[in-house]
């Protein structure tokens, strides 16, 4: 394995970055599954509850995405391994940028969709979040499509993200996956 000038196999993400990464990964998986499940339910009190919980969780992940972006901009992440080609680097940066864009675009589309459908988001049933749009059925339906499509794009990108991380670990034998794993110490394990 090639060690680039700035690359260190010992470098780790900060505990905060790791925590946000994995918490949001679980949260997104849960929200994605919940979204798919609840959308096809017959109209019932359970459905109304699930929609509200989905929105509350979505707002929470949106706030965490803000925190995460702030953290990312103020904490330089470990460098990419030196063996990566310039195309691979470009793909890595583009992929990560796209993930960040989706982390904001998806909750925003959900928020806009709720407004257009005339069902305001009231965070935890306590704090009303202002409606950005007035009620408009066709716009609400269009935003529903946008929210769903963005989520499928996210599912694709996250799948790619995970596959590439596994490729780094099992094929390239570098530290890219390990340095994001919780509890992994900074010790070089010999790769």
């Amino acid at each position: 394995m090639t060690s680039g000038a700035q690359y260190s196999a010992n470098a780790q993400y900060t505990a905060t970055a790791k925590g946000l990464h994995w918490f949001m990964a679980l949260g997104l998986l849960g929200l994605f599954s919940l979204g798919l499940y609840m959308a096809d339910l017959h109209f019932s009190p359970l459905k109304l509850k699930l929609y509200s919980w989905h929105k509350w969780a979505g707002v929470t992940l949106f706030l965490l995405a803000l925190l995460r972006l702030f953290w990312r901009l103020t904490h330089r992440p470990p460098e990419l391994p030196g063996h990566m080609t310039s195309l691979e680097r470009w793909l890595a940066h583009s992929g990560h940028a796209l993930l960040y864009v989706l982390l904001f675009a998806i909750p925003l589309s959900g928020w806009l969709m709720s407004s257009a459908k005339g069902v305001q988001t009231v965070y935890f049933g306590l704090w009303p979040i202002p409606d950005l749009l007035s009620k408009d059925k066709s716009l609400g339906d269009a935003l529903h499509e946008v929210h769903e499509t963005l989520n499928w794009i996210l599912a694709l990108v996250v799948t790619g993200h995970a596959l590439v991380a596994l490729k780094h670990h099992f094929v390239d034998h570098d530290a890219v996956l390990r340095r994001m794993l919780p509890g992994t110490s900074g010790k070089n394990r010999g790769y």
């Binding site: 009190p45 069902v119 009231v122 049933g125």
Partner: protein, 245 residues
């Protein structure tokens, strides 16, 4: 005032509503006397003495009462004024607000009918009957609209119409009135009252008012929907009625 047969003394026995109406209008001495006569004639004293007393008084009062009936029945013609009896549906709204998971929602009746009789010169003798088809109910969400006619909600096959009929109109001062009467939804009747503001705008009379009901009083939302944590019990009903002569 011939357009208010239910209240008209010539076509019906003196209505218990009448004395209330007259009293509330800060009546002239004669009207006050008529009002007192009617009020006492319709009161229900208890006990033997009270009954005998009432019997004695009835003879003397019936003549006066008849005079009052005749007087009141002719009195309206003295001041001929415009009556606002025709609802303008396109300009009128019947809305309701409720909370779903603590989210404020607004719905409306897309169509409704009203029989209205309102003479600005004699507002307290007005009458309002409102009927709203459940089929025209827009809850604010498509899914809820598909569900709203079901047995658990309004059971619109069996109870297709919500109905309100005013029985008393009491002046509250200025252009405000307290309108009360039975509201019937899904076979349940509850007395409701609403403060109503009347604005005369040229050849239009505009009535604005609102009141609260509890859906459980009308068995609206049964079974799994009975839980107020999802859809709140309190429903705020708001109306804006534009009428012309």
């Amino acid at each position: 005032m011939h357009s208010i047969p239910m209240l008209h003394p010539r076509t019906s026995v003196p209505n218990p509503l009448r004395p209330l109406v007259n009293r509330a209008q800060a009546p002239t001495p004669l009207k006050a006397r008529v009002a007192r006569v009617f009020a006492s004639a319709h009161s229900q004293p208890t006990g033997h003495n009270a009954a005998r007393h009432l019997l004695r008084r009835r003879w003397s009062q019936s003549a006066l009462g008849l005079a009052g009936v005749l007087w009141v029945s002719f009195w309206p013609e003295l001041g001929a004024a415009t009556e606002f009896n025709t609802l303008q549906p396109a300009q009128s709204t019947l809305l309701f607000a409720y909370k779903q998971m603590n989210v404020p929602m607004e719905g409306r009746f897309k169509t409704f009918a009203a029989q209205l009789h309102f003479d600005p010169a004699k507002p307290a003798q007005g009458k309002a009957v409102l009927e709203a088809p459940i089929a025209s109910l827009d809850t604010g969400s498509d899914e809820a609209n598909d569900e709203v006619g079901a047995a658990a909600w309004f059971n619109s096959k069996k109870f297709p119409t919500a109905r309100f009929e005013s029985t008393t109109i009491q002046p509250l001062g200025g252009n405000r009135y307290e309108v009360s009467g039975p509201l019937t939804i899904k076979g349940h009747t509850r007395l409701v009252s609403a403060p109503v503001t009347v604005a005369i705008q040229g050849n239009r009379a505009v009535f604005d008012g609102s009141f609260d009901v509890r859906r459980a009083d009308f068995s609206v939302g049964e079974g799994t929907w009975a839980d107020f944590g999802t859809v709140a019990n309190e429903i705020h009903i708001k109306f804006h009625l534009v009428t012309t002569p």
